[in-house]
Structure formats: structure tokens, C-alpha cells
Symmetry: C2
Subunit: 268 residues, 2 copies
């Protein structure tokens, strides 16, 4: 549906930033690659696609199909007849290319380029990243215009990526530079029972379990009992149990004890 | 050529590590995707591919074609009939999946998972990363087996990646965690002239330029001369000139001065 479609697109655009690096494709050959680049860009919140002299007759329909719905990037793409024009308004540009043997030029990692892009953006300066023709790379003249060469750290004996993958890795570094996702966390769920259990609830479970273990004879060796209890408590202490999970565990204990000492729930 | 081919492959394998995370594809549907995953793995130095119940009749030839030469990963791939068997020897496993609504489960970024994998490897513990069926993702039962969910920070309204791209981003984080490429550096070139110029060579150029600027009248206003000279020196001081570049600049000055004051090289 057009309506749904429009809504989805505008949401994806909401996470894009005008001050993100421009992606500049110099002489791309295939509509498929342009489309997949658009997709990778939108994945990473990049919206400024610039295309210099694409191969005549590149297939716009194929580009759109391969963009997996990133049409808004293709719709906003701008076309240029020279790299010079494509980068005219940018302050810093990076070349993605193999290290040129006889140029003296700074090399940067994608993480460093992302850091610099973010820093430059705070001063309202904009960066761009140049990608050359599939398989052939950038012209040396275009590389010479660039401030630095962006080198992807990958298996040196197997480093070749397709255009969209290179855009994805570089865009990902930029996106994560701006992203504040915690490295490791346990998200809240909608269920009220999913709240972390209080210590009273957790200790209630421990005591329930230990009563049943006493009853069953598992803890019968007096002098070993304290350390066994501590070891068992430490297993569950590592888990950060929720209230739901405490109740599940109490149910397990009750049911397992059932055949031995009466109905479930007996060992309250 | 077979010989060349073999040499290239063994070189790519040299940068792979057995203690890197295993990549576990659960019920992959298309040979193309398996091939592209193998390529992304080799890009990132990952070599341990495990495949659980691929779709019957998946195309091994297509996989090889789409692997762009990463056959050694495909050749070493192991096949399993259950996820349980595929992960049996691993100590920590991560699920790549959308956040399940009603599970209480730690979420980690790919960078954090990479950090943990490297740390666990130092204790000879091995990690694995589970990927579900294209478009469908992992079964909840497989997710429940995992220690944490690996969540890729991307445009939340446009986060869908294909299998190989997800493997690439995760593998890239692992590879860079082990990689010591400097964030920014100027590599040495083979040319002897590309060595950084000494201060004597650089100052020789400054003085040459300033003599010609004096001769030409550019620095004629006495009270402004010192600050103009400093400003000009500061332009070039930011460049970290090589010997070659100093000589090029002296040539430029000589030739530009040529029409004015005699032959090139006059202003020695």
C-alpha cells in the first residue's frame, strides 16, 4: 500500500543525518550495485548519494529492486559529470582504494574516518567517501584530490569486497560512532513478571529448594551442608533471576518433590 | 592455474584463526547465501563454518561461485542435523536475531561479542554465532540455548541485512579486535625520495621561496614581511613534506621565477 510505504520510508529517513558522510560512486557500472549501495547506506543512516558518470544505460529499475526498499536514497541521488564537481562542497574527502605505491598519503581506518567525520560535523564541515569503478578502483587523479586513503582492515590475502559491502562497513562505523547502544544489557520486556526478582523473592526460592533438599536427604552430610548450600546458591546468583523465573523454579522444585513428599506446593 | 590458486588459498588461510568464532547457519535456504557467507568469513579471517539442515537440494556449485574464491571455507564446512550438535563443543554462543519479546536475555553489540570472543579464546574457550533461516530468523528454541543475543546497531527503521552482510559486520568486529593497524598513519613508499625531508631541506626551500618573493616585490611592505613569511612557512609546515616534494616545490619556484629574473634554478 502506498500509504504504508510512505510511512515506512519516512521513518527510515528519520534516522538519517544530513551531516553524515556523502557516498560518492565514481563511474559505477551496474544498477544492481548502485541499488545495493543505497540499501547499505540506509542501513547506516546515510542519505547523501552522489554518482559520477555512471555507465551509460545502467539499469535504474534493477537498482531500485536491489535497494530492498531504500528508494528514498536513490530518489535523492545526485549525478555529476566530474569528481571535482561531486566533491565541491565537501571539506574532507577519503578515497577507498588499495594503497597507491608511489603517493605519499595518510591512511586511515574506517573507525578513524568515522571519528573525524563526526568531529568535523560538529564544526559544520562535511566529509565524503569516494568509491571507484567496480574491480578497477579509483583513478589516481581522484585519489590525489583526497585528504586520506580509507583502508579497510581485513584478511590481507582475501580483502576484496563488493561496493555495497565496503559502503556497509564504512557506514556501520559512522553509525555506531553516533549510537549509544550499551555494549551489553538486558532489555526490559513488556511482562510485569519479567522484572528482576527482589532478594526476598530469590532467597525465598533458595530456602524452598534447601528445605526440599534437606527432606530428600541430598544435604544429609552435616559438615558438607554449608558449602553445598553456598555452591547451589551461587549457581542461581549468577543468573539475575526475574520474578517469573523464581516462580518457575519454585514450581520445578515443588513438582520434583511431589512423588516423594506429597502434592506440589507442599514445601511452601 | 591450479598452482597459483593453491598458493593464493593457503595465504588467505594463514590469516584465519581456529580460535575465531564459529559461524553456524541454521537451515540456510540458498547456496548463493552460503557462498557469500564463506566469502565474508574469509574476508574476516573466520574459517569454522557449520551448517545445520540446509534446504534439500541447495546448490553447492552456486555456493562456490558466490564465494568469490573462498572455497577453503566451503571445503572445511561441517554439516549437522541439529543445532544442539553443531554447538556441542562451544562454550559461549550468540544468537543473531531480532530481540525476542518475551525472553529475558542479555543483548550484546558485535563489538562486545568480539571482545568477549577474544577474551574467551585466551582461556581456550570457543564461541559461536548462530544465524537463522533467511527472512525467518532463528527458532525460539535455538535462541533459548544461546548465552546472549547479538544485536547489530543499525538504522532501526531499516535494519534488515542479508546473511553475508551480517556475517561480514560481525566478522569485521572480530578481525579489527585482533588487528593492530594504526588509526591514521602515512605508510612508507619504496622510493628513497619519499623519505620525510630534513629540516635543513625544508628550510632551504622556505629560504629559496622567500628570496624569490623578495626579488619579485611580493614581500615589499617591510612591516608586514615577518608575519607574511611566518604564514607562508606555516602552510607548508602542516604538510610533512618528503624530499621529493621539497625538490618539486623548489622546481616550481624556480620555473615560476623564470620569466621574471632569469633562467630556472637561478635563485639557488
Amino acid at each position: 500500500m502506498a500509504g504504508t510505504d510512505r510511512r515506512r520510508k519516512s521513518e527510515a529517513a528519520d534516522f538519517c543525518r544530513e551531516d553524515a558522510p556523502a557516498i560518492i560512486l565514481v563511474e559505477p557500472q551496474l544498477g544492481e550495485n548502485i541499488g545495493m549501495v543505497a540499501r547499505a547506506m540506509l542501513n547506516c543512516g546515510l542519505i547523501d548519494l552522489r554518482i559520477v558518470n555512471p555507465r551509460e544505460g545502467w539499469d535504474r529499475d534493477k537498482a531500485e529492486k536491489c535497494s530492498s526498499g531504500a528508494r528514498l536514497v536513490l530518489d535523492r541521488a545526485r549525478f555529476f559529470t566530474s569528481t571535482k564537481e561531486a566533491v565541491a562542497d565537501l571539506e574532507t574527502i577519503y578515497a577507498t582504494t588499495a594503497r597507491p605505491r608511489d603517493m605519499v598519503k595518510a591512511m586511515v581506518t574506517p573507525r578513524q574516518a568515522a571519528k573525524e567525520s563526526v568531529e568535523l560535523a560538529t564544526r559544520e564541515l562535511k566529509t565524503g567517501i569516494l568509491f571507484g569503478k567496480e574491480a578497477k578502483g579509483l583513478h589516481n587523479d581522484d585519489v590525489a584530490m583526497c585528504d586520506a586513503i580509507l583502508h579497510l582492515p581485513l584478511n590481507p590475502a582475501f580483502a576484496s569486497l563488493n561496493l555495497a559491502q565496503a559502503v556497509l562497513l564504512i557506514g556501520y562505523e559512522w553509525y555506531t560512532m553516533n549510537d549509544d547502544t550499551e555494549e551489553r544489557y538486558i532489555p526490559e520486556t513488556r511482562s510485569k513478571m519479567a522484572r528482576p526478582a527482589t532478594k526476598e523473592e530469590v532467597i525465598g526460592f533458595y530456602e524452598h529448594l534447601e528445605r526440599e533438599l534437606d527432606d530428600s536427604g541430598f544435604l544429609r552430610i552435616e559438615e558438607k551442608r554449608p558449602s553445598m548450600v553456598r555452591n547451589i546458591r551461587n549457581i542461581f546468583a549468577r543468573v539475575e533471576l526475574t520474578l517469573q523465573e523464581v516462580q518457575t523454579l519454585r514450581g520445578i522444585v515443588a513438582f520434583l518433590s511431589n512423588g516423594r513428599s506429597g502434592g506440589p506446593g507442599k514445601g511452601k
